[in-house]
């Protein structure tokens, strides 16, 4: 298993203002697959992603990535693990604005103390279809292009898993389709494990497997549904709340 969560509980606040964001969630993300996590606002899907990626420490339970238990790592070791084994794509504010596309892509390797060859960086940009934009700064790129640069950066360390948090949330339809197509292709051609959090049924429909979350609990798991069927399931869940 690439990523496993065992009885993960996450509680924010204390006393009467206590919020149970994750309620004893146990889930596995096997390698080579494209997973989507869906759910209404406040269902705990972002918290699930943060815990799985080691960005937040759960109140109880265990998380392991590529066989390493995250609970036993200090902040620096956790950072190294994130740098070497995990790639991130966020909704917005994904790139360092003062660095060019190529410099942004090279950043994780540079932070790890390596000096990537120009070929390697160019290869990563080529894989997302932006070989000709290497010298551009984020302000000179469209939203979709920025997101593809972020995906290239997530891939450059050849991570065990890529976590994407609403990667299409800030994009127009055409850019969204390009980004989703790119993620799908990575899963198909490179057997890249991807965990994507989204509330967009169209985005979720691209994944191999869709996990449904409500009130911090895993309530359903579906596979190979189209966007219309997924939207219907989500509406059902929201009405049930």
């Amino acid at each position: 298993m690439t990523v496993t969560l065992r009885d993960v509980r996450m509680i924010y606040g204390t006393g009467t203002r206590q919020v149970r964001a994750l309620d004893d969630v146990t889930v596995d993300f096997p390698p080579g697959a494209f997973h989507a996590v869906m759910g209404p606002s406040g269902s705990g899907k972002s918290t699930l992603l943060h815990c799985a990626a080691g960005l937040e420490r759960p109140t109880a339970g265990a998380v392991s990535v590529g066989g390493t238990d995250l609970g036993g790592l200090n902040e620096t070791a956790l950072t190294r693990l994130r740098r070497d084994r995990i790639g991130f794509v966020f909704q917005a504010f994904n790139l360092v604005s003062s660095l060019s596309a190529a410099q942004n892509v090279a950043l994780p390797l540079r932070l790890a103390g390596h000096r990537p060859t120009p070929e390697r960086v160019a290869g990563a940009l080529d894989a997302v279809g932006l070989a000709d934009r290497a010298g551009h700064r984020p302000s000179e790129l469209s939203g979709g292009q920025q997101q593809r640069v972020a995906i290239a950066r997530a891939l450059i360390t050849a991570p065990a898993v890529v976590f994407a948090d609403e990667p299409t949330g800030a994009l127009d339809n055409r850019s969204s389709r390009q980004v989703l197509h790119l993620l799908r292709r990575l899963a198909d051609e490179h057997r890249q494990t991807i965990v994507m959090v989204t509330h967009d049924p169209v985005a979720a429909a691209v994944a191999d497997r869709v996990l449904m979350l409500a009130d911090g609990r895993l309530v359903d798991e579906v596979a190979d549904l189209d966007a219309v069927a997924i939207a219907a399931r989500v509406t059902e869940l929201e009405l049930a709340c």
Partner: protein
């Protein structure tokens, strides 16, 4: 990485190093200077030094006439000696159109070896004098000279090009019987001179000859040293302080970027290293520019310092490589120290920050901030207590300065605790939607409000503290003097160093004598019978006094000296042995109808306020210098932090415009926010400085035994606050205009 974030640190370091470089260059330039009249003499012999501490700046113990004569005779016999000159300075001041010429107060005996005539002939007779050609008195004309005995007409026999008068040898020997320096002309072997002099004096050659400079010049230089040291310390402190507050800003502005870096794999250590490296680079660049500016400023300032009396005449900038080098090294250090706290904070930014859309401050007060703030407050309180019990005046100044610095740091760190209450009180009169906007923005970002107010706090606190300290102590001394003066009118010097006998024949003279080799200030009182003295009670019934002419006399002690006086001697004895002694003031039972030149009549209160005016004036000049430095640096820092924060606020202003605010309303909001920040900083600064001032006042009260009220020159403080306000409103409103587009 982002140049605009570096601007704050750059400006802070630039200012800090410029001031440090300027003051260090000025400091190292302050060296003893050989008086011009000795320039052609290879060897100088100085009479034995007084046994006082070096910072008393006591003149050496003079040789009696006979001893000097015999020593000169022995020196003339040394091979290679062409001539030996007895140096005899005395008080002499020309009068031009009824007024004493200011600053022209010294006369010497003429010698062909040391003097150079422009025209005419050397003085020969008893009333012959050679004067500065600039006085405009022709050869053969008459000039009125003031000496300690009073004004008298003298015949001009020649002209020189220096601001001094020269009389014949015998006249000089009468006016200045004690000799402290013998000048040796020619090319004698210094070793031979030393063996002839033996223990009778000190032989000075080469650069060491400058040690014969007047001790008053050395004292002026020493005061200058104190002031420039304080300025350097203040500049360094302000540099670190400003670098710290601007770095804190830069970090809070870059939270999301730092969060992103953390998310893609930067360790906390790497984030710190990145900020430190950036600080070092910025510090070095700012330092290079700052040192250049500072050296330039030193050249411009040197003349002003002489003019203001902080450095003796003839002071010029001299080059010592280490001074600019040290200032250059200070730059990166200041930047590093200033960045340390911010870097620590930045390294704790979590990777999740990159995903948070809105920037919400979680807690305005962290535990570390509480700890550091309370520690600084404790240090400030301790320093205030040390100030209150300090007995030495220079200790007092140091403790109170350190205390004020610690209190400023404490106030800055703890400001977020009181800001919500202050905002509520200050904005109570501002009603309507603008008041609400400003209030909410200040309260949701208490820490940002605190950092923008910090430079105002620093500037205002130092303005109040520095000027308040000086005025409080000046007022305390004046009050003490006023209480002791009991006279209808007081005769005081007018353009002269003191009163001569023709103006006040019975007034108490001021002189300096030597008791057991130690210089002691003494008064010459007409009320004392010959052969007696009043001295601090030591038990001994007699005291042996060496007068300025080198003659010793043993006097019977008949009573204790009055307070703040060490020794009182009979006036006639002082006049006989110190022909240049002058009286500081004469107390009269009634106003006289006419006064002699060089004297004026004032009432008792004016006298009390004016005594020691020269020292007070010097101190006040220093104070204004310090104030200018700190207020200038502060104003720039205020503009800097506000501009930095305003850039961040442009987004908010744009939203305001889109929500229907007119450009005028946006500009007013920005101006109101700036004014609020200045008000908060000023209130905290004034409070902090008053706390430190109360400590100094307590100490002065304990020393003088009477209550000392805290005096603050409020108009001056109001000017500083108004300056901050103008700068702040401009810096706040200008970026708000950018939000129009």
């Amino acid at each position: 990485m982002l140049t605009r974030d570096r601007l704050g640190t750059f400006v802070a370091v630039l200012l800090g190093t410029a001031i440090v470089a300027a003051t260090l260059v000025l400091l190292t330039s302050a060296r003893p200077r050989l008086p011009d009249r000795f320039a052609d003499l290879a060897v100088l012999v100085q009479s034995p030094a007084a046994a006082n501490r070096p910072d008393a700046f006591a003149e050496p113990v003079p040789w009696p006439a006979g001893t000097a004569e015999r020593l000169a005779g022995r020196l003339r016999a040394v091979p290679g000696v062409r001539a030996v000159v007895e140096d005899r300075p005395f008080y002499a001041q020309p009068v031009r159109s009824g007024r004493p010429v200011p600053g022209h107060t010294v006369g010497y005996g003429w010698s062909d070896v040391t003097g150079r005539l422009l025209d005419g002939s050397p003085p020969a007779g008893d009333r012959d004098v050679v004067v500065d050609r600039a006085l405009g008195v022709p050869v053969g004309g008459t000039v009125t000279l003031l000496t300690a005995s009073g004004p008298a007409p003298w015949r001009v026999t020649g002209h020189v090009g220096t601001a001094a008068v020269f009389v014949s040898g015998p006249v000089a020997a009468r006016l200045s019987p004690g000799v402290r320096v013998l000048g040796v002309a020619g090319r004698p072997d210094p070793a031979a001179v030393r063996s002839v002099v033996g223990g009778d004096g000190t032989v000075l050659t080469g650069d060491r000859r400058a040690e014969v400079e007047p001790r008053a010049d050395a004292r002026t230089r020493w005061i200058g040293l104190q002031v420039l040291t304080a300025t350097t310390a203040l500049a360094g402190f302000a540099g670190v302080f400003l670098a710290a507050s601007t770095s804190a800003f830069a970090v809070s502005q870059r939270r999301r970027e730092i969060g992103l870096l953390r998310a893609v794999g930067a360790t906390p250590r790497q984030v710190r290293a990145m900020l430190y490296r950036s600080a070092l680079l910025v510090g070095a660049a700012a330092s290079a520019l700052g040192v250049g500016l500072g050296v330039l400023a030193a050249h411009l300032l040197a003349g002003r310092l002489v003019h203001a009396g902080i450095e003796p005449a003839g002071y010029t900038v001299r080059w010592w490589t280490w001074a600019p080098a040290a200032a250059f090294a200070a730059g990166p250090l200041v930047a590093l120290l200033g960045t340390a706290a911010a870097a620590r904070r930045a390294s704790r930014i979590g990777p999740l920050e990159a995903m948070r859309a809105a920037e919400v401050e979680k807690r305005p007060m962290t535990r570390l901030r509480w700890l550091a703030g309370l520690a600084a407050a404790a240090a400030g309180t301790a320093a205030a207590v040390a100030t209150a019990v300090a007995s030495d005046v220079s200790d007092l100044a140091q403790y109170s300065m350190l205390g004020a610095m610690a209190l400023v740091v404490a106030a800055t760190l703890l400001a977020p605790v009181v800001i919500p209450a202050l905002v509520g009180v200050l904005l109570r009169p501002v009603r309507g939607v603008l008041g609400m906007l400003v209030r909410e923005s200040a309260l949701t970002a208490v820490r940002r409000t605190a950092s923008t107010a910090a430079p105002v706090l620093l500037t205002v606190a130092f303005a109040v503290f520095v000027t308040g300290t000086v005025q409080t102590s000046t007022a305390a001394y004046a009050a003490r003097r006023a209480a002791t003066v009991d006279a209808a009118a007081v005769l005081v010097p007018d353009g002269t160093p003191g009163l001569h006998d023709a103006a006040a024949g019975r007034a108490t003279l001021r002189t300096q004598v030597y008791v057991a080799g130690t210089a002691v200030p003494a008064l010459g009182s007409a009320d004392l019978p010959p052969g007696t003295a009043l001295a601090a009670p030591t038990g001994a019934g007699r005291v042996t006094v060496t007068y300025p002419d080198g003659v010793a006399e043993t006097l019977r002690v008949t009573g204790p000296a009055p307070p703040e006086t060490e020794l009182v001697l009979p006036r006639a004895s002082v006049r006989a042995h110190d022909p240049s002694a002058l009286a500081p003031a004469a107390f009269l039972p009634a106003r006289p109808a006419v006064t002699a030149p060089g004297a004026e009549v004032v009432d008792a209160a004016t006298y009390a306020a004016r005594t020691d005016t020269e020292d007070d004036r010097l101190v006040w000049t220093f104070t204004l210098l310090l104030l200018a430095v700190s207020a200038g640096a502060g104003a720039l820092a205020v503009a800097n932090t506000l501009l930095m924060s305003a850039r961040q606020r442009i987004g908010d202003y744009r939203v305001l415009r889109l929500s229907g605010a007119t450009p005028g309303q946006v500009a007013l909001t920005a101006a109101l926010e700036s004014a609020l920040v200045v008000a908060i900083g000023s209130l905290l600064g004034i409070g902090t400085a008053l706390l430190a001032l109360i400590g100094s006042a307590q100490s002065l009260a304990a020393q003088s035994g009477r209550a000392v009220p805290v005096v603050v020159p409020w108009p001056l403080v109001a000017c500083v606050v108004a300056g901050c306000l103008v700068v702040a409103v401009a810096a706040g409103a200008l970026p708000a205009r950018a939000a129009r587009g």
